[in-house]
């Protein structure tokens, strides 16, 4: 039997029961579609994390207290270039929550007390107005810089610069709005005020000695290469000022490490998604096998006739395997088209509480197609061999 004859015969058989062929196809379509979509989502989120690493700057370090509080005195010590030559900028922060309102428009926002360094340490850009300046910090000024989303919630499209808002009942003057940032780690929903104002006017917490305690310190190393050196310098300075002999009462996070952790979690997610997709393809494959087995039983007589006409076992095997591969290949192609469309459609959309980002690469459809053909071969062979094993005369007699 020539390959052309095999193909012709398979098409003949598949068109004999279109509904059944379509249902078998559907299983593969869904399997391949989910493989493509989930793999694209996996790739997309990997990309996002890489983007994030580059966006935040891999020379960013974060120090948080784990025992004794960190204070502005620590910040001053860290700023001394004599002890910390590898550090470019130090930005202490105090975080609190509050209610912001103008007239009768109220919104909840995370409020962070910052110093002027915060702007470039965190790679931020101003939309309108100016950022918090040194005079604001020194004078405990009641000024505020709004995140893009907060500004939008309160003022809509209007430029809020110069306007007054109330934070926890106190009047604050808006001096600027941050440019909108997309993605993870965005400051859009943040409200920034001078760190001193946050400490004395909003939080009211004090530690003995009148020093201001901070929640975290963001530190920018001179460059990526000096990150490790900077960590050492930070540890030396803080151990000295905290007079530490045993365990540290602070923790230094390397931005890169944090993102590596994210990336690891993401990889786990990708593997998980891949497994789920793989299982659905497997289910599709079992569907194909089921259909093929039914079809072998139903077509026993046909197989008998073909054998009586001189079909060899390998001809019968070839016919049934080709049918199965046709189904999975056809399903694979439709699934690839559906999967690519779906992946493209959800890219950048905000659905079910998450922003989806997908990336379609050319290897994904190729892999999916190869896998679907392999599924057809794998699940088609058993029914095909069963068909070929039939004794011609028994097959002919089958009702």
């Amino acid at each position: 039997m020539s390959p052309l004859d095999i193909i012709r015969t398979s098409i003949y058989s598949l068109t004999a029961n279109r509904l059944r062929a379509a249902l078998a196809l559907l299983g593969i379509v869904l399997g391949v579609c989910s493989v493509i979509t989930l793999m694209s989502i996996g790739r997309g989120s990997t990309d996002r994390i890489t983007e994030l690493i580059q966006g935040l700057g891999s020379n960013l370090l974060t120090v948080i207290p784990s025992g004794e509080p960190l204070t502005l005195a620590d910040v001053d010590a860290l700023r001394d270039p004599l002890y910390t030559p590898s550090i470019k900028a130090v930005a202490p922060q105090i975080g609190t929550f509050g209610t912001i309102h103008i007239d009768n428009n109220t919104t909840q926002a995370a409020i962070t007390g910052v110093t002027p360094e915060f702007l470039h340490v965190r790679n931020l850009e101003m939309g309108t107005g100016a950022f918090i300046g040194i005079p604001h910090v020194e004078s405990l000024a009641e000024v505020v810089v709004l995140g893009a989303q907060v500004s939008d919630d309160l003022f809509g499209n209007q430029d809020p610069t110069g306007a007054e808002v109330r934070i926890n009942g106190r009047r604050f003057r808006v001096v600027g709005v941050l440019a909108s940032q997309s993605g993870f780690g965005s400051m859009d929903d943040q409200t920034l005020i001078p760190i001193t104002t946050a400490y004395y006017r909003l939080s009211g917490q004090r530690i003995p000695g009148g020093d201001i305690s901070v929640d975290q310190i963001s530190i920018q190393a001179k460059d990526v290469e000096s990150v490790d050196q900077a960590i050492e310098e930070i540890e030396t300075v803080l151990r000295l000022s905290h007079r530490i002999t045993e365990a540290d009462d602070f923790t230094v996070f390397n931005q890169q490490e944090i993102l590596d952790t994210f990336d690891e979690a993401n990889q786990t997610l990708v593997v998980f998604l891949g497994t789920v997709a793989g299982i659905s393809l497997l289910v599709g494959g079992i569907g194909i096998m089921n259909i093929m087995l039914v079809s072998v039983t139903e077509r026993t007589r046909e197989i008998g006739i073909r054998q009586a006409m001189g079909a060899k076992r390998r001809d019968i095997v070839a016919q049934f395997v080709t049918e199965a591969v046709f189904l999975t290949f056809g399903g694979g192609i439709i699934g690839v088209i559906a999967g690519l469309s779906l992946a493209t459609a959800i890219d950048g959309r905000f659905l079910i509480g998450t922003e989806w980002s997908t990336r379609v690469t050319s290897d994904i459809p190729v892999i999916a197609l190869i896998v679907s053909i392999a599924v057809g071969l794998f699940f088609g062979i058993y029914p095909a061999v069963r068909a070929a094993r039939l004794n011609p005369i028994e097959a002919l007699r089958y009702e």
Partner: protein, 248 residues
């Protein structure tokens, strides 16, 4: 025109063949064939008769290599069928024997033409279409080639079955009650085609039938009863069969 030449070696040589069907976990045994010994020579026209259940179809299936005997030996063209691989058996089915079934056994979704092409497809024949058209013309179905079996009368379906069997120019044509359900006109037509194949092309023909007048066309009538050959008559013919020669 080819006259039957009785070569020393018979086309079909059956020795003490039995076919036992076991049923009900082997407790019941049906001896469909019980020690059949037969020689059929090239160019013979043989009719097989016998009561229903006497084993005619079973014998035909074994001769056509569709089934294998439980014991005994069967040689076709001098080759022992018992020792043949599955592939070899398939080859014989596709080249050497043409089988006409009582119940046509056409593939319902293929046209008459495609049905006739089928054995050539498995035998890797060239010019399939041409040969199939020629075969259908021989059985007077030139105008029904694109019809599916369901679009043909019973007699026409049977003729497609004959075209399918003769298209590969088999050396043996096996027909199991080819005229079972046909009227006299159709029966005569089909018997004429078969006789012509025997006389003009020298094809060995074995026909199973219940009807005397169908059997009358043959040169030799073998009668089965309970799986055994109870009579084997050759009509008066200018030449004697090998058995008769040996008896002299």
């Amino acid at each position: 025109m080819r006259t039957p030449t009785y070569a020393l070696q018979p086309v079909i040589r059956i020795r003490d063949v039995t076919k036992i069907y076991e049923m009900g976990d082997g407790t019941i045994q049906v001896r469909a064939l019980d020690g059949v010994t037969l020689d059929i020579h090239d160019g013979e026209y043989v009719a097989i008769m016998g009561a229903s259940g006497s084993g005619k179809s079973t014998l035909m299936n074994i001769i056509g290599c569709l089934d294998v005997p439980t014991s005994g030996t069967y040689h076709i063209d001098g080759q022992a069928v018992e020792t043949m691989s599955n592939n070899r058996l398939a080859d014989i089915r596709s080249r050497k024997v043409g089988f006409v079934f009582q119940t046509h056994n056409l593939l319902p979704r293929l046209t008459a033409l495609a049905n006739v092409e089928l054995p050539m497809m498995y035998g890797h024949w060239p010019n399939r279409r041409k040969r199939a058209e020629h075969a259908l013309n021989l059985v007077n179905l030139g105008d029904r080639m694109d019809h599916r079996p369901t679009e043909l009368s019973g007699g026409q379906q049977q003729r497609v079955g004959i075209a399918r069997a003769l298209v590969k120019e088999p050396s043996v044509l096996l027909a199991d009650e080819p005229t079972g359900n046909l009227d006299t006109a159709n029966t005569a037509e089909i018997l004429n085609i078969i006789s012509e194949l025997n006389h003009q092309n020298g094809i060995t023909v074995i026909v199973v039938t219940h009807e005397r007048d169908v059997a009358a066309r043959a040169d030799r009538i073998i009668t089965l009863s309970d799986g055994q050959v109870i009579s084997d008559e050759t009509k008066s013919s200018p030449l004697m069969t090998k058995g008769e020669l040996e008896g002299v």
